[in-house]
Amino acid sequence: MTSKISFSKMTITDIKRRVWIFAILVLVLILLMPVATIIKIDRDMADVVKGSLKMTNLTAGLISWVGSGNGGITFVVLCSAIVCAFSGFGYLYSQKKVDVFHSIPVKREKLFLIQYVSGIFLFLIPFLACKVLTILVCTAKGVITGEVLYAALLSVCFNLLYFLIFYNFAVLAIMLTGKMLVGILGMLVFWAYFPLLYAIFQGYAYWYFNTYYGSPWGAKLIDWMLYLSPVTLYYGTQTGGSLLGMSIDMPTAQLRLITLIVLIIVVVLTFVLLMWLYRKRNSEAAGNSMAFAKSKPVIKVFLVAVVTLGSGICFGALVNEQSEVWLVFGLLLGLVVAQCFIEVIYAYDIRKVFSHKKTLGIAAGCVVLITLFYRFDLLRYDSYEPNHEDIESVAISIDSLDSSISYYYMEDEYSYDYYDRDKYRFEHMNLQNVPEIYEIIQQGIENGKNNITYENLSDKEAADLSEMAVCYKLKNGKTIYRNYYVYMQEISSQLHALYNQEEFKKGQYPMVNMKADNFDNIEVGDINDYYSIKGSDEDNRRLIEAYQADLMNLSYQDMEENVPFGNISFRMKSLEGLDYQYSMNYPLYKVCEKTLQQLKDMGYVIHTELKQSDVIKIQVEPDTSEYWEDSDNNLGKDYSDPDKIKEIMDASVLAEVDNNGVDVDCDWMIIIYYRNQYENENSAPYQFREGKVPEFIMQDLGDIAED
């Protein structure tokens, strides 16, 4: 007979009881969706009429707007999930309400489902209605397209899933607690616990491991912690799935599908957990802090440990130098504060602050173990190097090499975005059987053992130091990352070998992986001028291929001996609906012979160096504090004698360009004044090569420089 009690009737009754949520949501969503859409379309249409916006751009903007680009919806989804959860299951906090609901002849599973489903409908009905109204608005305004409809549909799916995730975690907090305040705190703990734990582990690893690279792109188990927080799960999936460990350049549809599946799995798992908890939850839990007595010590240990570890690292990082004294102080303070806070929450009695010392001891033990684990590198993290036989390939990313290169990727059909430099290099560089790379890594490991880092060295000592990230791709599918410090001079011979590797270049220079038809414009800059290259498609294609070939042939020695005299910029084709275009900027060396020849064939004369005959004078100034303190700046000296000009020019290279391996003497400032091809006076900054300062300069200005 019980089954005859209508589920739908009870659900509708429950919705009616909470109709105020419905009313508020309808009002807010109408303003945020159809009304805001009308305003947006009208404003954009006005821009289209004025000519300041293309129709395609309007459509692209609209797709984003009805999709995930309306930030207000996110806020509404979050708030409505919390309100629906607490209004639907808040009765579990009141004994008199529990007495009513749990004495009626309705099974608890059914009771749970009624509350659960009505909460969803309270959000879903107004959201769907407003989404339909938004589509109708777009139709009436004549801007509806299949893509807009598709974006709207996806938005409904994703927002419903995001709602369910926040809703389930809020209900989970209610299930585990017996008081409203504790429930709200519990919900915040669900949001923040695992991201905090993640940040704390990262913090300790950065502190104690010299070779810690971070936890990039789902490569490590620790990243999965972020799936356990609705906030980071939302953020990770909403921002392109970077948290999912998925390749960012995965096709959008595939990425969306995987994201949808992940979200559905999380929703289903949390739902099953909620059902189980509801069945297990005793009615007498109402009014207690925690609904399940057995969970109290476990939750306390987890919370105290994390708060203590977090407090330790926060206090440790308060001073400039990492201080273990402050770390210990932070740990002790965090331990005491967390213990007191949690016990007061549990017992609602200030006299119970130091109750349950056993759990306090366990939490303190965990904290000590974790701290010692990092402090003494018990897993030998810093000295770890995989067996070479287990390595499929290796990729390295040295900070100071080619640091001015731009890395882009196509985010979707409407936009490009920056690629993380290390990420690009790791994904596109697969070095196999290159012994030199292990020699470099070995140097990095040794430097790590000797605590050679930027923090531990003076600026002068660290002048030749560079950070180097390494990605080991193992045969078993695992990927391991490490960060090392290397002295560039010490690895010079190995870099010579690396730059001869085609695989290295593919990771180092995105340009070599591009196709000619990716670009629609090329610009070249030399020491005198900028040229927008006007050539046929075929000429441009040849120029692009010539530069790609030059880049592949560029040796480390070329870079050590030369600095770029100019740069070449390849502008990527405009995307549909996108106003702006990205460019890939690359250096031009004298050794880029194929490029220079192709430019010459196309009628462009590129100046690879200043002609001595064009130089009017050279101003040499010692870069000393005295020089800067002298307001008249009369400590420098001008040279116009052709012999001295030649000697200075032979000993110097262009400054303020990416000089990769070229060593320069930074004690001197050189400004060369010259006449360009238009007979205008111009100037260019130069620097002496290391140890190549001419004798006559030393005689004239050496005393000041030495000061």
Partner: protein
């Protein structure tokens, strides 16, 4: 019939109900009395299937109550603190319970509401405490369940209303299979309505008997006997629960029928004697004293 067997319920480190066994017969009003904190509410909440006993069983017409819809549709629980939905009127609550209890009699509810001069449309939160009590009792009665569990339900009702509710109970019992179980700390409230009484104290059952048996089995005797030897002999022959003396007047509370007690007294040639009936209140004071409990803890 409700059979309670060795039921125990512990909240944290407090044993609210300890090893209770009782049988509640059909067609009689069962009164559950006891001190504050005796475990009456906990016991009723277990009977209603709200709480799950830690140990023991509660069988209602052959069915376990907890999480059993079949058993629960035979009972209606009126807790000490009633809950009505926010902004609900009596009509809203009637509709809700009519949805939950398929035997709910809407017409009867409307009729009773009219008789009690309560508005169907007015928001319940605007009602007085007593009016809310009346609404919840009427909802419980009109649910037409076999068992009605009332926790301190008469508390807050004025004497007229209390009498009216009692009359409804009687009428319902005459018309259908109806067994109210009423928990109260107020013995006077139960005295004229209960057929059977269970006394709870500190989580346990002191006794559970028919009210008639209790009343006919305990009497108060006032007598003046010729000498102390007769007094001592009488005390030995009777099962005395309480004894006080005022001058030569001896006042005894003793178990036994009126006839048995009369015979014993007459054998001692009393100068004066009379046997008086006891109120339920006096019986319980005597019983709890015998059981070694401090009567000052009982609130009347």
């Amino acid at each position: 019939m409700i059979e309670v067997s060795k039921v125990r319920k512990v909240f944290d480190d407090i044993e609210a109900v300890q090893n209770i066994s009782a049988a509640i017969q059909e067609g009689a009003v069962f009164g559950l009395v006891g001190t504050n904190g005796a475990g009456k509410s906990t016991f009723l909440r277990m009977l209603a299937g709200v709480l799950k006993p830690d140990e023991g069983t509660i069988i209602l017409d052959g069915e376990e109550v907890f999480e059993n819809g079949k058993a629960k549709e035979k009972l209606f629980f009126i807790p000490d603190e009633q809950y009505f939905f926010p902004n609900a009127s009596a009509k809203d609550m009637m509709d809700y319970y009519a949805m939950v209890y398929r035997e709910f009699d809407k017409d009867k509810f409307k009729e009773y509401m009219g008789k009690f001069n309560l508005s169907m449309e007015r928001k319940i939160h605007t009602f007085s405490k007593g009016m809310k009590r009346q609404v919840s009792v009427l909802l419980g009665i009109c649910a037409n369940t076999k068992y009605l569990f009332c926790d301190e339900t008469f508390d807050g009702l004025d004497p007229v209303m209390r009498q009216a509710v009692k009359s409804i109970f009687v009428a319902e019992m005459m018309n259908r299979d109806f067994t109210p179980v009423i928990a109260s700390h107020n013995l006077r409230e139960l005295e004229d309505i209960c057929d059977h009484v269970g006394l709870l104290h500190q989580g346990g059952v002191l006794f559970s008997r028919d009210l008639e048996d209790i009343k006919t089995g305990v009497h108060k005797i006032q007598c003046v006997l010729p000498d102390t030897a007769d007094e001592e002999q009488l005390m030995k022959e009777l099962e005395v629960l309480q004894c006080t003396r005022s001058g030569s007047l001896l006042t005894l509370t003793a178990r036994g029928t009126k006839m048995e007690i009369t015979q014993r007294i007459e054998q001692r040639n009393p100068i004066f004697w009379e046997v008086l009936p006891l109120t339920l209140e006096e019986i319980f004071i005597s019983e709890t004293e015998v059981a070694g409990y401090d009567i000052k803890n009982l609130v009347f």
